[in-house]
């Protein structure tokens, strides 16, 4: 037990922006493999960077310097937001590094793609956390010791995995239905592995800033730093740790600059340090300094989303379940896939945000679901996502064939492609030769005309004529043959498309597909045959 007099306050901010998807139509499937709305992503991220990330980072930096180690904060950056910052706002990444160097800022581990992997299986979750750890080390220069899961999703089982991975603390929601009479203002520990400490969000105090700050109809409006500090002070007799967790975008984006949110943030640390017995600590420091008061049983997953504080924001309706199921049905194949492009898309497509947009709660309490939502309604979100996922599946099957059947189809379509290529080359040759032959014939004809006057040459004329005749025939026959070949060339790509399209349905209708592959083989043979004819033709000339 550490100093029982001193209490801790823990500020933690989530930084995340998904790669929003562009409008992807079904007829693009199999042709277009770029899924992101670059313009929207860049403009949203640039806007947030200048409204929130940069000014708030600077303010925090000033506060940390001013309070000389007495003011501390904790962040979590998703792998996806790191990617976006690298693309669109590298200066933000630099300022996070600067924050990290102060020693007063902790960064948490989490899933790389802000995904729901923890609800799928352990390996996938661990893999994602590992990848995220590498990213943090590379771009922020930080080795996380505590962890949080996507949207603070937590259950006993997930906590156990985290403990096994060596993390000392996790942050999650102080959900009423889990706590019952218990207070969120103490440290708890995981029910399976007590080594993992659990920090619970005080949602009243957190939402006072995150949601109610600028609400003029709120009885406590306007909220000033002193007032806030007095509330926290009031908690002192019956609490050890107050956890204030929220989206980082609260500062300057959800609560605009004009609401005075920055002034609030500027004066809040001072007020708390001076007027309350609370001391700022990061998540890991809390874990180091406080002993858990009890086990916390969380048999089914909780999160910090919506009123329900459960998973219904992402897996609450049939659309969401279908989309999540389809996505993770490809996980096994993805494990064996080495394509960088596919792996990148795989990461971005896993963002829980895509499923959040499909929530039908959008219709009733949609305000929060509407933050940066690129879709008009959940149906549109679902259709767009599923179209993209279908294309992704097609690519996955082509690039990482799983069964014999896919391989066979791939092999055949490759053959078709290469043979098409050969045919085109030969055609070009053929037309060149024909042109040459044509001019040669004309010249020959002109010569014979000139020589016709000379009687002794008569015999020769006859022979050239004979010789010319079959050549003429050839030139007549050749164009029609060429047409047939080009027609074939036109049809084959279409056939190929059919092949790729069919791979989707391949599993259900193996037999019919097999029949089709036979047909394709035949067509390949045919085109090969035609080519050999063309070759012969060219050769005879």
């Amino acid at each position: 037990m550490s100093t029982p007099q001193k209490k801790a306050i823990c500020l933690y901010f989530q930084v995340h922006q998904p790669f929003r998807l562009r409008r992807y139509r079904f007829f693009e499937m199999g042709h277009e493999h770029y899924y992101y709305d670059d313009f929207m992503n860049e403009s949203i991220l640039r806007r947030i960077a200048s409204n929130c990330y940069l000014p708030t980072n600077n303010l925090l930096l000033d506060l940390i310097r001013k309070h000389k180690g007495k003011f501390k904060v904790t962040f979590s950056l998703t792998g996806i937001v790191i990617d976006q910052l690298r693309l669109y706002a590298p200066e933000v990444l630099a300022s996070f590094r600067e924050l990290a160097e102060t020693g007063c800022v902790e960064f948490l581990a989490e899933t790389n793609s802000h995904s729901l992997a923890s609800l799928m299986n352990r390996e996938r979750f661990e893999l994602q956390v590992r990848v995220h750890g590498e990213k943090m080390a590379e771009h922020i220069g930080y080795q996380p010791t505590s962890i949080r899961n996507t949207e603070l999703i937590y259950s006993d089982e997930i906590g156990n995995w985290m403990a096994d991975m060596g993390y000392k603390a996790v942050v999650t929601e102080g959900a009423k239905h889990i706590l019952g009479w218990k207070s969120p203002n103490f440290v708890y520990c995981n029910a399976i592995n007590p080594r993992l400490k659990v920090l619970l969000r005080n949602y009243t105090l957190s939402d006072d800033i995150a949601f109610r700050f600028s609400d003029t109809s709120w009885s406590s409006y306007p909220l000033a730093a002193d007032k806030y500090a007095s509330w926290i002070k009031g908690l002192a007799p019956s609490s050890e740790v107050v956890n204030i967790f929220m989206d980082y975008e609260t500062f300057g984006e959800h609560q605009k600059k004009e609401t005075g949110i920055f002034d609030f943030l500027k004066h809040m640390p001072d007020a708390i340090i001076k007027k309350t017995p609370f001391k700022f600590m990061t998540v890991s420091e809390v874990a180091d300094n406080y002993q858990p008061v009890s086990l916390l049983h969380v048999p089914s997953p909780i999160s910090w989303a919506d009123e329900e504080r459960d998973l219904t924001a992402w897996m609450g309706n049939e659309l969401q379940t279908a989309a999540v199921t389809k996505l993770y049905s490809m996980a096994e194949k993805m494990a064996g896939c080495s394509s960088e492009q596919l792996q990148r898309d795989w990461v971005y497509l896993q963002s829980s945000d895509h499923f959040y947009y499909m929530s039908t709660k959008f219709f009733s309490d949609g305000a929060v679901h509407a933050y940066f939502n690129p879709y008009e309604n959940p149906y549109q979100a679902f259709m767009n996502y599923m179209n993209i996922l279908s294309d992704f599946e097609i690519r996955l099957k082509t690039l990482c064939p799983v069964d014999y059947h896919d391989e066979e189809v791939n092999r055949l379509s490759e053959t078709i492609q290469s043979k098409d290529h050969v045919i085109i080359e030969l055609q070009e040759k053929l037309t060149k030769l024909e042109k040459k032959a044509g001019t040669a014939n004309k010249r020959a004809a002109a010569k014979t005309k000139g020589k016709a006057a000379a009687a002794p040459a008569g015999k020769k004329v006859a022979t050239t004529r004979v010789a010319a005749a079959p050549a003429g025939k050839k030139t007549v026959a050749a164009p029609s043959g060429r047409k047939a070949v080009t027609a074939k060339a036109v049809t084959t790509p279409a056939g190929k498309k059919a092949v790729t399209a069919k791979t989707v349905a391949a599993h259900e209708v193996k037999k019919s597909a097999a029949a089709k592959t036979d047909a394709r083989k035949a067509s390949v043979k045919k085109s090969a045959a035609r080519k050999s004819v063309a070759k012969k033709g060219a050769g005879s000339k």
């Binding site: 139509r25 079904f26 007829f27 499937m29 309706n317 049939e318 659309l319 379940t321 279908a322 989309a323 039908t360 219709f363 008009e376 309604n377 149906y379 549109q380 679902f382 259709m383 599923m386 179209n387 279908s390 399209a501």
Partner: protein, 434 residues
């Protein structure tokens, strides 16, 4: 409260949404306390359901020897001759004689049959303008014979009748705009129709529009005081469970349906274009264009030129139960209307458990949440939505479930309550004026 209602169609003899809507509203009103409806149509066939309203066919009203009394309009009554200003004639010869004779300018000439009644075709044929005129003449006779408190006229065909009835009786007139000529013509407004509409709107004490979309048109294009115009959304008759049996399908192809008049207003060509896009990527789909209209032949040729007729079908005009059978067989219902004041048919589709795609240029889009809404010209979005619903069963199930729930909440009783409220206000307002 007795309402004298002028319509143009009454089930089962209907050609489109107008008949369905005015009938639904009448039923809703009939279920209200102390509202009686006298419904007038140009032609009564005799097989209409008269349990809820007293239906009068204008063709059954004898006008020949009637005296139309102008009780309220022109006072004192004694000063004008209390004899009918209707001058019936039975053949063109008579008409010629009369126009040559000393018929006063204010007298109305109307052609009658041997029984002294006026013949109506009750359709939208070549003599439409003549029929509208005759209808308004007979409306005067009816208005002078019946007791009522308020007049309600549905759509421009009945506006002149409503105006005439108001002139005779002095009772307030409510007109119900189910469509304007801006919707029907795609912008090439017929000046004669426009004049009739404008006169109707000017004469009306209150205008009911079927959507805010239409309300805007009425206010902006007809220069009407916004205060006078109010939106009452249409509803849909609840389906009985026995009607929900799905007919067995002989094939497992999906069916995508367009149902409505094949006219410019309904945007059939966008449906065909979307069909072409879907068919190029999906083999097991069939498209059905149900209905008839002036663009049908052109659409058939268009489909043929795109070489999709082996998967694209035309059914011609569907009536009564056939409509629901068609809907029940469908997997997606598409309404790509270029300009649709309301559009009841998507509601019927949702009742039949069919997901719907509707154009944003329809009034019903203001009302519905659980429907795909696309711009009528955005065939890519339309094709994409069709593909999505056909391909992803979860999506289709969500639409069916939520759509059904949503549409079941739309009741004619609600619309009728609103209309009754409007009547009450109009009556109060006019009584104050007097």
């Amino acid at each position: 409260m007795r309402v004298l209602m002028f319509g143009w169609e009454f089930p089962p003899h209907i050609a489109g949404g107008l008949g369905t809507a005015s009938y639904g509203l009448t039923r809703g009103l009939a279920s209200q306390k102390d509202v009686d409806v006298i419904f007038v149509v140009p032609k009564a066939y005799g097989d209409e359901d008269q349990s809820i309203v007293s239906l009068i066919g204008a063709n059954t009203v004898s006008v020949a020897f009637k005296k139309v009394k102008y009780r309220y309009f022109m006072k004192p009554v004694e000063k004008i001759e209390v004899f009918s200003r209707l001058v019936p004639y039975t053949d063109p010869e008579d008409f010629w004689k009369m126009t040559r004779g000393e018929v006063a300018d204010t007298d109305l000439l109307v052609s009658t049959n041997k029984q002294g009644k006026v013949d109506f075709s009750g359709t939208y044929g070549a003599n439409l303008m003549d029929e509208i005129y005759k209808y308004s003449v007979v409306a005067q006779v009816i208005a002078s014979e019946q007791e009522f408190d308020i007049i309600h006229a549905h759509d421009w065909l009945a506006y002149p009748a409503g105006i005439a009835a108001k002139a005779v009786s002095g009772k307030p007139l409510v007109i119900h705009v189910h469509a304007t000529d801006f919707d029907r013509s795609g912008g090439n407004v017929n000046p004669v129709v426009f004049k009739m509409e404008k006169e109707g709107m000017d004469a009306a004490d209150k205008i009911i529009t079927v959507s805010n979309l239409t309300r805007e048109i009425v206010i902006n294009n007809y220069d009407i005081d916004p205060e006078k115009v109010e939106t009452v959304y249409n509803a849909v008759e609840p389906l009985h469970h026995s009607e929900l049996d799905v007919p067995a399908r002989a094939y497992d192809d999906k069916i995508v349906t367009f149902l409505g008049r094949i006219t410019l207003q309904k945007g059939p060509e966008y449906f065909i274009e979307a069909a072409r896009m879907v068919l190029s990527r999906m083999p097991k789909v069939r498209f059905v264009m149900a209905g008839s209209g002036d663009m049908m032949e052109r659409m058939m040729r268009h489909a043929a030129s795109l070489r999709i007729t082996d998967r694209f079908y035309f059914t011609g005009f569907l009536r009564g139960n056939d409509v629901f059978t068609m809907l029940r067989m469908s997997d997606v219902y598409v309404m790509p209307s270029v300009s649709e004041p309301f559009g009841i048919s998507p509601l019927e589709a949702m009742q039949s458990n069919v997901p719907v795609i509707i154009s944003k240029q329809s009034g019903v889009a203001e009302l519905l949440t659980h429907a795909v809404k696309v711009d009528f010209w955005d065939i890519e979005a339309m094709a994409d939505a069709i593909y999505g619903i056909l391909t992803y069963p979860a999506l289709s199930r969500m639409f069916i479930m939520n759509g059904k729930e949503e549409v079941d909440k739309l009741k004619w009783e609600k619309a009728a309550t609103h209309v009754k409220d409007i009547y009450t206000r109009v009556l109060k307002q006019t009584s104050q004026q007097i």
